[in-house]
Amino acid sequence: MALLLIGGLRSGVGTTTLAANLAVALAASGRSSVLLNLSRCSTLGLHFGLSADQPLPGFDAPAAATGPINGVLLLDATVQGQTGDLGEGLSSGDFSFKGETIHIVDLSGADDGVAAQLRPHADLELCVLVPNAECLYSLPATLEVLPESAVFLLNRVDDTRRLGRHAASFVRELLGDRLIGAIQADEAVGEAAAMMQPLSRYAPSSAALADIAALANRLASLPMHQQTGAHDPASRSDAA
């Protein structure tokens, strides 16, 4: 897989946190991992020890100006997303996300148009939801909008809570195979963010990290479904 889109069924479901820790988990498993930010108010840097006023390297920055943090290359493609250059570049073949490197795009805070321009080039789109009434209420609209190939992930699953347990069961029955995983609710996730560290560094034995690592392994083993294939691969640095 080369391009993975991660979005939330609604805001506040932990999409950015998941994207960050998933990218770290993929890197820890030996996969080259790139994390793309598409929002001006993203909190991606929080999980990598970057201060809020510290900009991420631009998507068009020279390769020499960028470097991985915790094994993950962080790039800010907000401008390219908003101008449409990201989708156009992928369509024209100016650059490509094909190959062994897994590019994770955090769609949190990004306009719907940005997701639309990336969708044809994505190998997989992952929609994050939590087992609560608000997400269930939003689910029908999301099912209508998302492509049928999109898959779902239940975040913050807590079997000790009655409603959460029932809602999770309901979602599992409704989505069937489209639900590809679940992440346990774990206070270590929030604590790691407060420590400005990835979960693997702050709480390497946490339950949520085990789930994220399992998800990473599963995603890394998935076959590609990318719809485009006519363009010659070109590296991002070629376009820069």
């Binding site: 689910l139 029908p140 209508e144 049928e148 000790t160 347990r165 069961s169 029955e173 409704l174």
Partner: protein, 105 residues
């Protein structure tokens, strides 16, 4: 704390439990109104119909698509006949539970 439990914890070198709740059986789920609202939503109807057209189109061409979600899951076709109360979640779950008890699913 019961002595056998304390003994077990000592052997495990643990000082306390970690309780594990097992997921409810689907038939034991409470029918929260939001569940029924989702199931009755026409967009979920469409999603269910598209994802399970083969499960319903030949045998039960007039069945409401949402019934097909659970009938596909549990093979309970009697739960989805049109014009009855099958779209009612409580009724549907009761039928599924009954079928499970009879060993039909």
């Amino acid at each position: 704390m019961r002595s056998d439990v304390k003994s077990l914890l000592d052997r495990l070198n643990q000082s306390q439990f970690r309780y594990k709740e097992f997921a409810d059986r689907f038939s034991d789920l409470e029918t929260w109104p939001i569940f029924e609202a989702v199931i009755r939503d026409s967009r979920v109807f469409n999603y269910a119909g598209a994802s399970s057209v083969q499960a319903t189109s030949t045998t039960f061409p007039d069945s409401p698509p949402i019934g097909s979600v659970l009938s596909r899951k549990y093979g309970a076709p009697e739960a989805v006949s049109q014009g009855n109360t099958s779209a009612d979640v409580r009724t549907l779950l009761a039928r599924i539970s009954s079928a499970a008890e009879k060993g039909e699913i």
